[in-house]
Amino acid sequence: MTIASIPTPLALVAELTHRCPLHCVYCSNPLELARREKELSTEVWARVFQEAASLGALQVDFTGGEPLARPDLRDLIRSARTAGLYASLITSGLPLDENRLQELADAGLDHVQLSFQGPREESSIEFAGVQAHAQKKRVADWVKQRRIALTLNFVIHRGNLDQLDEMLSLTEALGPARVEFAHVQYYGWAFANLQRLLPTREQLGRSLEILKNAQQRLRGRIRVEYVVPDYYAKYPKACMGGWGRKVLLISPTGDVLPCHAAGILPGMTFENVQARPLRKIWEESDAFQRFRGEDWMPEPCRTCDRRAQDFGGCRCQAFLLAKDMTVTDPVCSLSPQRNLVDAILEEVNDAASKSVAPRVDWVYRPNPGKS
């Protein structure tokens, strides 16, 4: 591949830390979490923002872990804004008080995406292992008062999908400009808990109807966005908008990855921003070049009309399901390995129809800030 065909990234996902007061059973962090002493410094991040902006990136998403666990978050936001980036904070909303939020606003924070585990306090306690719901509602108000854009993000799955109406009522009460209903993505901690999280076919059908109606009803007031979980879809999602095409993610320790989950892929090494300029890593590193474009594609992708739309789907999902990161994403109905996904769906739907499933223990994600 020639340098001329290297795309311009749109967004940098800055995974500032793996420390987090929540213990979500579907966390997107790797199973092996980075410790605090290994996290990048304020100064290195500031340089990275300049490098990302000069590569053409327009936005930075501060995430984690819980980015508020970084005491220097205000300085990081300021240096991202100085670099010309649009700054989003993806947060659980704790620990946060009004004074700290004001500091972040003064530093130039543009947008807060506040995550919810469901419509009630019990949802936080069950799915995140912590009491957080009341605090989240306070944070939503503080954000709006400061004229920062607010997105609510409800992570949905079998355990809370039947509470969608309640989630929509809560959304209307809090009045954000935008709400996302994000189905759990089955990697990392969520893959470990898949049997409990994947919704049933019936549940999904009902939920899509509710969401379509809400989209119509709230048009012009609240933008309602959602995505179908791709195990139930006919074609795979265009994961990250294509490998090394739109997004780059930097881990707490400075490794540069094409997505949240790529660390699980065997034989892949990721270069570090402390060792090499970001542009070089984006344009030339083996990890980014490996699945960029179409040269790597097997059949049926190679000759498929949809290859420029979904880019062969997700490499991590191919690895998790088919144990081979180079095959067509098995969720695709054209994949020779679609039977693997169908078997999971069958098992989940069967078990659910027999009801009284035994209570399985969740695998809670730990907090690497504590030993």
């Binding site: 749109l10 327009l58 936005q59 010309g84 649009y86 004229r147 854009a149 997105t151 935008r178």
Partner: protein, 92 residues
């Protein structure tokens, strides 16, 4: 969704233009970027909570005096409606 002529559009919280110095002017907003051409930039720059929709139409009809005035009005109303659906605008 059609904005009222007397209402005053204003960029919604967290929606802003990128730096004046950059080669491409863009509207930055949560999870989205809108690239702006001449007329769309002229419109957005007037979405300041001061100009009414009517004033924006009159201004643009003057700037683009060679264009058909009803056509300009139609396009502006449609554009403002789309921005409202994206939640990039509030109307006061």
């Amino acid at each position: 969704m059609k904005p009222l002529p007397e209402s005053r559009p204003r960029l919604a919280p967290g929606c802003r233009l990128n730096e004046r110095s950059s080669p491409t002017r863009m509207l930055l907003m949560p999870e989205r970027v809108l690239r702006l051409n001449g007329p769309s930039l002229e419109i957005i720059e007037r979405c300041d909570g001061q100009h009414t929709v009517q004033q924006i139409i009159a201004d643009l009809q003057a700037v683009y005096s060679k264009a058909d005035p009803p056509r300009v009005e139609h396009d502006i109303l449609e554009y403002l409606g789309q921005l409202q659906e994206q939640r990039a605008l509030d109307f006061e």
